[in-house]
Symmetry: C2
Subunit: 255 residues, 2 copies
């Protein structure tokens, strides 16, 4: 992965599956992808969750792939009739699906003569697409254009991601530092926080409040692409908070 300096590189996640929208399944893939991309300097800029409905998937794919550098889809690549992600990606790109010889060879090696129609569905890749390795279990994902189509099962999705990273044009990673305020709520913190934020519009300053044993507090997260500037802004923020009479302030490590 090559770094192109200061240009922002963006991605979107498209989560495909009725089981997420029905509330049956808690999605965790978006967060895993966000963290994986962040290390590469790729910002997750938007996420959408759509049902297993062809037009919905195609429309969302086209909206996202035209707008962001990369789109990562999760879900809908198994062998059953509700697994229509490959069909939707092919339709979005205006190409046909073909049975990929490498996947057919894998399926034959695994199932011999039992490569039935359902299993062959998993070999279908849009014409012009490449495979995304699946180091975990089962058939691979695929990529075409700026879209990467991965499994929905989290462990398999994470395995596939390892074969996505090296293909991305990375940006300058966003780094963050966290200032923890205890015993003061956001209502007190807001003014000094905003003053520092307005003085550094190239950084992102966010406040994530909590309610703990000492009452209200907040984790103030400063994000930016210049680590040296980040150190300065964190100090400026601590000084501004103390100047506003907020004393229980310290920088903390956050996992």
């Amino acid at each position: 992965m090559a770094s192109d300096g200061d240009e922002r590189v963006t991605a979107a996640v498209l989560i495909i599956g009725d089981e997420i929208l029905s509330g049956r399944t808690q999605d965790t893939n978006m967060r895993d992808i966000a963290r994986y991309l962040a290390v590469l300097g790729v910002d997750l800029a938007e996420a959408r969750t759509v049902p297993d409905v062809m037009d919905e998937i195609v429309d969302a794919l086209n909206a996202l792939r035209s707008r962001y550098d990369y789109v990562i889809t999760t879900g809908g690549i198994g062998p059953t009739h509700d697994d229509i992600t490959a069909d939707a990606v092919a339709q979005a790109f205006g190409v046909e699906l073909e049975e990929h010889p490498e996947i057919m060879a894998m399926l034959s090696a695994r199932w011999g003569g039992e490569v039935n129609a359902a299993r062959r569905r998993m070999a279908r890749v849009p014409v012009g697409g490449d495979l995304v390795k699946n180091p975990v279990q089962g058939p691979p994902g695929f990529t075409i254009g700026n879209v990467f189509t991965l499994a929905g099962v989290p462990a398999i999705m994470r395995g596939m991601l390892e074969d996505v990273g090296p293909r991305l044009r990375g940006g300058r990673p966003t780094v963050s530092r966290t200032v923890r305020v205890e015993g003061s709520g956001e209502g007190q913190i807001a003014a000094p926080l905003e003053a520092v934020a307005k003085a550094h519009t190239d950084m992102s300053l966010g406040s994530y409040p909590f309610f703990g044993p000492d009452g209200y507090g907040s984790n103030l997260v400063v994000r930016g692409r210049d680590p040296a500037q980040l150190v300065e802004v964190v100090q400026e923020l601590i000084d501004a908070l103390r100047g506003a009479g907020i004393d229980n302030v310290r920088e903390v490590e956050v996992a």
Copy 2:
């Protein structure tokens, strides 16, 4: 809440917050809202996650509110500079923000003379909007048109939801039953499952595979709005699976 029979009632969730897209915070609100709505017969049809950026929030709000019966937003209603959801909702509806007298009275009761500018931010409601009660902690949310704007903190969001439900026009609830197959993978299950699905296009049949001690299996979820028909289709599915030589099949209760 009145039920209007067979008409489908839809909702979208709009999750607002850099902390979700950065991967810092795992969203759980979408799933909670999906489950809450399902009981009311309202289908969660789409979800989007956008950053704390005005145009992104406004564009997503307008796309979703024109398309679905209801939109529920989470996040961005605190007192800090990055809390801009109220501004975005007002802009989407083309109205001004005003300080709501009930919220101002609550803030005065809580803070007395310390209702500073930051805290007053939380009193801002789009003109024409109504409050959504917050039974947990802090100021209320609000609603305007078909949009409900709730807090991002999960416990507070869930509390506010209780004041949303009674205002929704409910549909006929979707009910589901689950058939569990053990010892057979989706590659075997797919053909009988698809046959039953194609015979009942008014139902939704999904397959959610797992890998357990006895090898592959799958939970087959049948969803529909007619409980009696659901019982019949579940039996038809069990018969179809057994007819295809898949014996370890039973209906299970799912929490």
